[in-house]
Symmetry: C2
Subunit: 252 residues, 2 copies
DNA sequence: CGACAATTTGACTCAAGTCAACTAGGGTGG
DNA sequence: CCACCCTAGTTGACTTGAGTCAAATTGTCG
């Protein structure tokens, strides 16, 4: 917009993590067993975007599919529009996670992705990945694995939506978030939800009122403590019991 | 089991379709724009299995992932076990469709696949596909597309489970089956359901009683005619209206 | 022909949705 | 700095679509 503005704080931030090798997330988003040379080649195709404000889209449904994305900081949701025009959230994406795989083989994105808070992404042009995948043995397999993991997660969610009660769904989501934070060596018992109650409900197939009621019920039971978006898991075992399922660190 | 049994009828059948190029389904299951030479190379890695009886498994959850499969005839369902031990059906697979992609990058299958009626599959060893994908340009992309299509279908189903009424779900499934039969140039308005009411319910997140009730309700409304597993779609437009959604030929 | 599995139908229940009112935060502009 | 507004979240009262339980019917296969 304004090309003459001086260096912004986020530029500073971007500079700090200008290379994948320096990025603390690379073991999470790039666990390809490749040598330094391969890593460098992979790294050259990755573009680091400017920060996005809450509500800004990374891509929209129907726009040409060109890249996949890795969350650098913040959080995103991906969603698709149902025939009658309202959104269905397909997933929440935390730092180190890849999103945008849904539209992969297709001409256009079937989903849209939007920032839930101030966030940053790495953009990875897919045609370059595709070309590189033919040369770096591990990369093709890694891509297959990413896609297959996405399928597993969607199927995990299908089970949740098709068979579980409101309480079980919400417990499972809390545990999924918790596990994913743990993977990043952050607190697994105290965290801030990046999404609204409405988003949680939309994702889990529940209305906001139900989400709200279940959260207070869990709080009254002493399993968690809720204060707005701040969650404190007091009794992880009981929460796991309520979820009634081993929640994969993958999930949502 | 009994190595001395004489040539069985199905061996005869297999001989009839001993090559992909002869198989009437190849435009459906192998729409890779490859030349004859490539097709031949691809063809050499495909193994044609013996027919499977209703209830026989192609693979089970937890067994090593080695191959993906194409339905040659009959029908299959894939399912996973929920933590509390009952099954959740992830999809139904008709001739020309690929299944078994779920466990792709992983060591073991997360899902199981079982024949819904007497059926036959082509087995495609995945390591061979992987190797070949590095050489045949279109094949890698085709594999990505298959995986991504699987994701789209799961997401389609997620929308169905999270937002739709019992009537909409069942209408959508009927339309999905109808569209997939049309693609094979079979009747899109009269067909036989390969799965039980229980399977339909399991897949759509409904109990059998609800499936049964909705089917009779749709029949009373004159939208479809039901006689056991035989379905006759009398008014496709009304069924589409009830489904409330453009159902992709993909689906289920 | 039985025996068992699948399907249908009815009566009743309940978890989650709907509707509505109220409260708490989070800016914005005067 | 505060009054105001708007959105997000909570809570309560009531409704309802789909689940549960149970019984009758049909279909299937040895």
């Amino acid at each position: 917009m304004a090309p003459s503005v001086p260096a912004q704080p986020h530029t500073e931030l971007a500079r700090h993590e200008a290379h994948c090798e320096d990025c603390g997330l690379n073991l999470i988003c790039l666990p390809v067993a490749v040598d330094d040379d391969d890593l460098h080649r992979l790294e050259t195709i990755i573009e680091r975007g400017r920060p996005l404000q809450r509500g800004e889209h990374v891509f929209r449904s129907g726009t040409p599919f060109e890249s996949i994305y890795a969350v650098r900081s913040g959080a995103f949701k991906t969603y698709r529009l149902t025939p009658d025009g309202d959104e269905q959230i397909m997933g929440f994406h935390l730092p180190g996670e890849i999103f945008g795989l849904g539209g992969l083989g297709h001409e256009n994105h079937s989903n849209a992705a939007v920032a839930l808070e101030t966030s940053a992404v790495c953009e990875i042009p897919f045609d370059r990945v595709e070309a590189l995948a033919r040369e770096i043995p591990g990369l093709q397999r890694h891509m297959f694995q990413l896609l297959s993991k996405e399928i597993s997660e969607d199927e995990q969610l299908l089970v949740l939506l098709s068979k579980r009660s409101a309480e079980e769904r919400i417990a499972a989501l809390m545990l999924s978030l918790s596990a994913r934070l743990r993977r990043r060596h952050l607190s697994a018992t105290r965290f801030r939800l990046p999404m609204s109650r409405g988003d949680i409900g939309n994702y889990l197939g529940l209305v906001v009122e139900t989400v709200s009621r279940v959260l207070t019920r869990l709080q009254n039971q002493g399993v968690i403590e809720v204060e707005g978006k701040e969650i404190h898991i007091l009794e992880p075992e009981r929460l796991t019991a309520i979820a009634g399922t081993q929640v994969q660190s993958a999930g949502a």
